[in-house]
């Protein structure tokens, strides 16, 4: 999936990937897509929960071995 920005959260555990996602999204324009690279499986449940609460759109995730790529679109 095409993303406007990517943050690397590999090796970070809850809640740091979510905290870093929130910080990065703040710097982005509405409609832009953020890619979050992670390896803590908690993010599979946490990112949709975060997106629902904050009104941003969870676009899905891709798993490749231990690495998880998560995509979120900033709310309009």
């Amino acid at each position: 999936m095409e993303a406007d920005r990517t943050i690397d959260c590999v090796g970070l555990y809850c809640p740091m990937p979510i905290v870093k996602t929130a910080q990065e999204i703040k710097k982005m324009e509405p409609g832009q897509v953020l890619e979050v690279l992670a390896d803590d499986v908690g993010i599979k449940s946490d990112m949709p929960a975060w997106a629902e609460k904050t009104g941003n759109e969870f676009l899905g995730l891709e798993e490749d071995g231990g690495e998880i790529k998560v995509y979120v679109r900033k709310a309009k």
Binding site: G11, P15, M16, I18, V19, A22, W50, T54, G55, A75
Partner: protein, 160 residues
């Protein structure tokens, strides 16, 4: 975007593990767009104290208590398996290895994210603590009615 929700955390414990749990939730809540208020009371005050050994206005008993349980985020101990400091030291090492923020970093992060820090004035009086005994993170020095009025607005209210 959903209307802004709020949460409150009573930080009663001065234990390292419990303080870390409180800050993890506070930082996550703030990241989720929630207004977060942390109310530090009783032993929890030690989490945001400078840990000065100055006598200040403390009575001899209060001063002694302060010496025996010196404040400051870096001096917090695990609630279990402290083992004269060895357990706490080991846990700090593990957290570093797994790149988890320590208590100081968690406090800084919470401030950056707009988490509000409230200190309980009654507990301060019992322990002989003054406003100047605290780290420069405290937003306000308040009582139980302030906490309760925030808690009635909060959807998540925890006592840790």
């Amino acid at each position: 975007m959903a209307e802004e929700e709020s949460m409150t955390l009573i930080v009663f414990s001065g234990d390292l593990d419990k303080a870390l749990a409180a800050f993890n939730l506070a930082n996550t809540g703030a990241s989720m767009g929630m207004t977060v208020n942390m109310f530090f009371t009783f032993w929890g005050l030690s989490v945001i104290e400078k840990g000065s050994l100055d006598r200040g206005k403390k009575s001899p008993m209060q001063w002694m208590m302060g010496m025996m349980n010196r404040g400051g985020p870096g001096r917090r101990k695990l609630s279990k398996m402290n083992m004269a400091g060895f357990g706490t030291h080991t846990m700090k090492g593990l957290m570093k290895r797994y790149r988890m923020p320590n208590l100081d970093e968690s406090i800084t992060l919470a401030k950056e994210q707009g988490v509000r820090f409230l200190a309980c004035t009654t507990s301060m009086a019992i322990m002989g603590l003054e406003e100047s005994d605290f780290l420069d993170v405290v937003d306000d020095f308040v009582g139980a009615a302030t906490y309760l009025s925030l808690a009635t607005e909060g959807k998540v209210n925890l006592f840790i």
